[in-house]
């Protein structure tokens, strides 16, 4: 018994929980990693961060990602999941679209591809001269875009990066929502149909309220991921993009720690990121609760 619980717990405490706790302490020191001196400087790191324009740009970019990525991904995957599950005949048994299995399998592909590879592939797709996107666009007659640098122009770099992340995750959430929708008893849909509800009405009034908890969970996971976004952003634009337009907190943290050796400051950034994550999760719970969802945490 003790071994069953003890061994995993020790590993977990040493390599996950204790680093979290240490990071909070280091964030209050000006430790540079070269010696064992950790001068305690209180909140000075945080003051420095909030006066650092580039860090504030990174915070802004991360917040932009946390606002847009979950909304876009969840809506897109909900629409696709709805099409697959209740797009079939409105007569007889409630059933999905023909060929639904095919779409399900294809849609999940991006999720199994390593994020690094997704970043590299899309980096090439966006390539100004030899990329697939500009190739297709000039083929369609948009000659003005012949060598447009999607990732190299501060007006489009952020949007182009978001497209990549959405591409990577829509399929996963689509599968998740399909599973949830299939969990709704067919009688519920039949009753709605007998009462005269059309497909759109059914989707809005039956499906979404009934899979509300799944939507909430998906929304929070996607938000946590958007606040990280390290792999995608660093592969697509390793230095933070034109005019830092795609720099995120995670990237800034990584260079501050492992290139500059300012470990205390980097830990303070980690605390800011963790705080944003908790605020985000809290807001999602709050909104769900205020709009009438169940209050329990989905466990």
């Amino acid at each position: 018994m003790a071994v069953f619980m003890g061994l995993p717990l020790v590993i977990y405490l040493v390599f996950v929980i204790s680093p979290f706790a240490q990071a909070v302490y280091y964030s209050l020191t000006s430790w540079n990693g070269f010696n064992n001196q950790m001068p305690f400087i209180g909140l000075a790191n945080y003051v420095q961060l909030f006066q650092d324009n580039i860090f504030m740009i990174a915070v802004r970019n991360s917040i932009i990602l946390a606002i847009f990525l979950p909304v876009i991904t969840v809506i897109l995957s909900l629409v696709l999941a709805t099409l697959v599950t209740i797009g079939g005949s409105s007569r007889g048994q409630i059933k999905g679209l023909r060929g639904a299995g095919f779409y399900r399998i294809i849609s999940f592909f991006p999720y199994v591809i390593p994020a690094v590879v997704i970043g590299i592939i899309w980096g090439q797709i966006y390539d100004p001269s030899a990329g697939l996107l500009n190739g297709i666009l000039t083929g369609l007659g948009f000659d003005g875009l012949k060598s447009y640098p999607w990732l190299g122009d501060s007006r489009t770099a952020m949007v182009a990066s978001m497209v990549v992340i959405v591409w990577g995750f829509v399929g996963f959430y689509m599968i998740l929502f399909i599973a949830a929708i299939k969990g709704i008893p067919a009688e519920t849909y039949e009753a709605a149909r007998i009462d005269g509800a059309g497909r759109f009405r059914t989707a809005i009034s039956i499906t979404i309220p009934l899979i509300r908890e799944n939507v909430q969970t998906a929304y929070i996971y996607m938000g946590i991921l958007a606040l990280d976004a390290f792999v995608y952003m660093s592969v697509l634009n390793s230095t933070g993009g034109p005019e830092n337009s795609t720099l995120v907190i995670a990237q800034k943290l990584f260079t501050t720690a492992f290139s500059k050796g300012q470990f205390g400051l980097a830990c303070a950034m980690g605390v800011v990121l963790a705080a944003l994550t908790l605020i985000f999760a809290g807001l999602v719970f709050l909104v769900n609760r205020l709009t009438g969802g169940r209050t329990e945490v989905a466990e």
Binding site: F15, L83, V84, Q124
Partner: protein
């Protein structure tokens, strides 16, 4: 009167009429749905097909046109990527690290989840919340201290160091998922095993674990994907090039931009990384789809 009317219209005919009318609307909806879903499927497939095509082209051909076919279909790029660029040895490292971490985390996670789900003891609630914290807090908060913990115990830049960190960070997800699973298993069976004289170890390994196999399989697949695709942890704590994993090796390709990058080999390396996971996915996809649904029923 009404009775007479209904007698004159046979129900079969009415049914057929209604069916015909509805089918047209159905066809429109189905048509639109198919168009939208097919567009999405193309969005997914075209970048992948293009990557595959480019992996057979020379760098010169890649820059000439994004659509041109390679002049010679050969596996030169694959050979270069595998041997010269070291993707082969990164592949081996990844297999070792992910394989070991997966086995360890499944055993430890299952034991932990089993105890949490089966026994009420002081602090079990606290452990549960600690696991929840591990799922919520960003890994970036831990990364700096983690670096120094490994340095102090001499496991920095080693494969065992990477394995143990993988295990630790995959543990909360594993425990959470299996916790629900073990809770749902009937208690009578473990009681019966105990009455028959099986100790705790035997009850767990010979009775309970085999019963939890479907749950174990699902968690194992998700852990495999997560660990195989892991990038941040190795980049931070495994910087010795001899010990690199695949994601680091392929990122190094992209990182060379500006120098003479062999783009053909880069695409080939991407294919080498993607194909095993994609094949594994297609092979296990039924299992995986089932597990997503199991995951949402929690």
């Amino acid at each position: 009167m009404t009775l007479k009317l209904s007698n004159t219209t046979p129900p079969v005919q009415g049914h057929v009429q209604r069916k015909a009318r509805e089918t047209r609307a159905d066809k429109t909806v189905a048509g639109v749905s198919h168009v939208l879903l097919a567009l999405w499927a193309l969005m997914v497939l075209i970048p992948l097909a293009w990557t595959l095509l480019s992996s057979f082209k020379t760098t010169k051909e890649i820059f000439a046109s994004p659509f041109s076919l390679p002049e010679h279909w050969s596996f030169t790029n694959y050979v270069t990527a595998w041997a010269t660029a070291g993707i082969g040895s990164y592949f081996l490292n990844t297999v070792i690290v992910v394989g070991c971490a997966l086995v360890i985390v499944m055993v430890l996670g299952a034991m932990c989840a089993y105890v949490l789900a089966r026994y009420a003891f002081r602090g079990s609630r606290a452990i549960y919340y600690l696991m929840l914290a591990g799922l919520t807090f960003p890994i970036f908060l831990a990364i700096v201290p983690l670096f120094f913990i490994l340095k102090n115990i001499g496991l920095l830049n080693t494969l065992p160091g990477l394995i143990i960190v993988y295990v630790a960070f995959a543990l909360p997800f594993t425990v959470f998922f299996l916790f629900a699973f073990f809770q749902a298993l009937p208690t009578e069976i473990s009681e019966a095993a105990q009455i028959d004289g099986a100790g705790e170890w035997r009850t767990f390994f010979q009775v309970m674990l085999p019963m939890a196999r479907p749950g174990m399989a699902s968690v194992a697949i998700f852990n495999f994907l997560g660990l195989w695709n892991q990038y941040l942890i190795p980049v931070a704590i495994n910087t010795d090039q001899d010990h690199w994993v695949l994601s680091q090796g392929i990122a190094a390709f992209a990182g060379q931009q500006g120098y003479a990058v062999d783009f053909g080999s880069m695409f080939a390396a991407a294919v080498i990384v993607v194909v095993p996971v994609l094949v594994a996915y297609i092979f296990f996809q039924r299992q995986l789809q089932g597990s997503v649904s199991a995951g949402t029923m929690k």
